[in-house]
């Protein structure tokens, strides 16, 4: 199964739960949804239904294919202003 190197950065509650600002990951996950499921095995993350995801600094679909070198950010409910 194809593996890819991804870079992940965490914000807000996800950063607190992961205990790191970000990490590099060598993974078989082919979509943001698969990646989030994999990470949720390691960290007490929230359910993904209220989260969004960005790949390479643009909002992405949870089922979009991930490529080697992609930069992924999971986005908990925002609270600016």
């Amino acid at each position: 199964m194809a593996r890819r190197k991804l870079r992940i950065e965490y914000f807000a509650i996800l950063r607190e739960r992961a205990g790191v600002d970000g990490e590099e990951l060598d993974t078989e996950a082919g979509t943001p949804a698969e990646l989030f499921a994999e990470l949720s095995e390691r960290y007490p993350f929230p359910e993904p239904d209220r989260l969004k995801v960005a790949v390479n600094d643009e909002f992405s679909d949870w089922q979009a294919p991930l490529a080697d070198g992609d930069f992924v950010v999971f986005i908990p409910p925002v609270a600016g202003g």
Binding site: I13, P46, E47, G81
Partner: protein, 155 residues
């Protein structure tokens, strides 16, 4: 002047206002979000804003451009603080100039509403009881914990 900016320094409304002056504008509407000393019944001592900056800048600029187009505003700008803020400090500033006041008010309101919903910025409040929380992130995490609990029992 970019249409949307993030700042780790105190915001300076007089500067933004000056840059939006325009002799074709008859109406100018601003909105400022200030750090309150209370939120949902709890006393807040200070708070912290964290942003996913590259995407926040893109999405914020899209919102301001949408507002200008949708309401026929002449000029618009929004800037959001990041980092640690004290009570009473300015967290976000929006300003819109337009030929008439309807457009100015509507575009200003649109920008602050959309920024609060779409721009990846998170607020962590520090309460007087020693607790702290990431705005509305806590609720969804609790919800997730409740979901997990029964499935653990089933396992």
């Amino acid at each position: 002047m970019n249409q949307f900016e993030l700042s780790a320094e105190c915001l300076t409304p007089e500067n933004y206002r000056e840059q939006l002056r325009d002799p074709t504008c008859g109406g100018f509407s601003t909105f400022e979000g200030w750090v309150r000393n209370r939120n949902e019944g709890r006393e807040v001592l200070e708070l912290e804003y964290q942003a996913y900056e590259p995407l926040a800048l893109k999405e914020g600029s899209r919102i301001v451009a949408e507002a200008v187009l949708r309401y026929g505003a002449s000029k618009a700008f929004c800037i959001h603080r990041v980092g640690d803020l004290a009570i009473g400090e300015l967290a976000v500033w929006v300003g819109v100039g337009a030929p008439h006041r309807d457009a100015a008010f509507a575009a200003c309101r649109f920008i602050i509403d959309e920024v609060k919903h779409r721009v990846p910025i998170w607020k962590k409040e520090h309460y007087s009881d020693g607790n702290s929380g990431w705005g509305n992130c806590e609720a969804c995490v609790e919800q997730a914990a409740n979901h997990r609990a029964p499935s653990s029992r089933r396992a």
